[in-house]
Symmetry: C2
Subunit: 209 residues, 2 copies
Amino acid sequence: MPADAADSAAPAPVTMRRGRRPGPNDTRGAILDAARSRFAADGYAAATIRRIALDAGVDAALVMRFYGSKDDLFAAAMSVPTDALQRLANAFDGPTEQLGERVTRAYLTLWEGSPSEYEPLLAMFRSAVNHEQAAAQLREFLQARFVEGIVPRLGDVPDAALRVSAASSLLLGVVVGRRIVKVQPVVEEDLETLVKLIAPAVQIVLAGP
Amino acid sequence: MPADAADSAAPAPVTMRRGRRPGPNDTRGAILDAARSRFAADGYAAATIRRIALDAGVDAALVMRFYGSKDDLFAAAMSVPTDALQRLANAFDGPTEQLGERVTRAYLTLWEGSPSEYEPLLAMFRSAVNHEQAAAQLREFLQARFVEGIVPRLGDVPDAALRVSAASSLLLGVVVGRRIVKVQPVVEEDLETLVKLIAPAVQIVLAGP
């Protein structure tokens, strides 16, 4: 048995799935399928590019060439809208005085926009609430996003990681109140009224008084 | 009653469950069973004391004598800890300057305390996230609690209902971050550190700058 198949449970002959040679889209699809299964089975932290590549029957370098990083592969496998997350992260850049307003508006706007952007997030959240395995995946993904993508943008604010995760929790609560439990009058107010009310709270948590 | 009849599929007549006349506890139990079914079937708003009494085979006046109001009957049927909710409502009383701190501490303390207090709330929340029917129940129950129990305590603050529901959403987000998704470092900070960080945000939403 070849060494690289040693811990593969059932090495599927990927090349025999169809009556023609697999093109790039088939390979991408096979990688995403393998990633979804592997993240679900092992969790975000324990899953490795190497193992996902093995499951998909491709080289790890190809997975990296297609998806860049484990983080981005996870986002692609879960259909997480990476553009939207990038806009959210970008809101942390800029003058500290309007930090709360930029972040609040970016966050709430994401949930008012295209269903193709917020529905995968909503689906991940619904799963996380009822399944610890899904919660662990979401947690580890957010962790990676926060630690690498957002916390450094706050510069030398003390307790930046705590502030970012607390502010994110507050904003998640507003989305839950508005989109899931649908509490009045939070659910019926327009976006700008909410931003005006919530932004100072997010500002004080992110930047202090 | 013979042991093998205990888990018989045939529906046993309620009055024959025991070898004595049904006492007050049986009646209370029958009312709670009827309330749970009726709230689930019709939702909180549409369910009536009269109909629940009919389902339970008792007089509506008896339901009111046992449970006082539809709100309290719902709380009892769902095992919602009414004492804990009362402590939360009471935190809205007192000097405006410490409003955010009192409410934040009361809210977060509830989720650090006895599982018998927060588990029914967690169960309701988990159901609400995945079932619109349960979300409607929770929403209508919170609405009744807020409108009748908390908003008047804010006195003549403009937009009191919006402020209370927005602040509650923020605090719910902290609980979700801490107890469900378990985002670091929100999950590992002690209660007082979180209160110190979050209370000014709740203050500014409840009372303005």
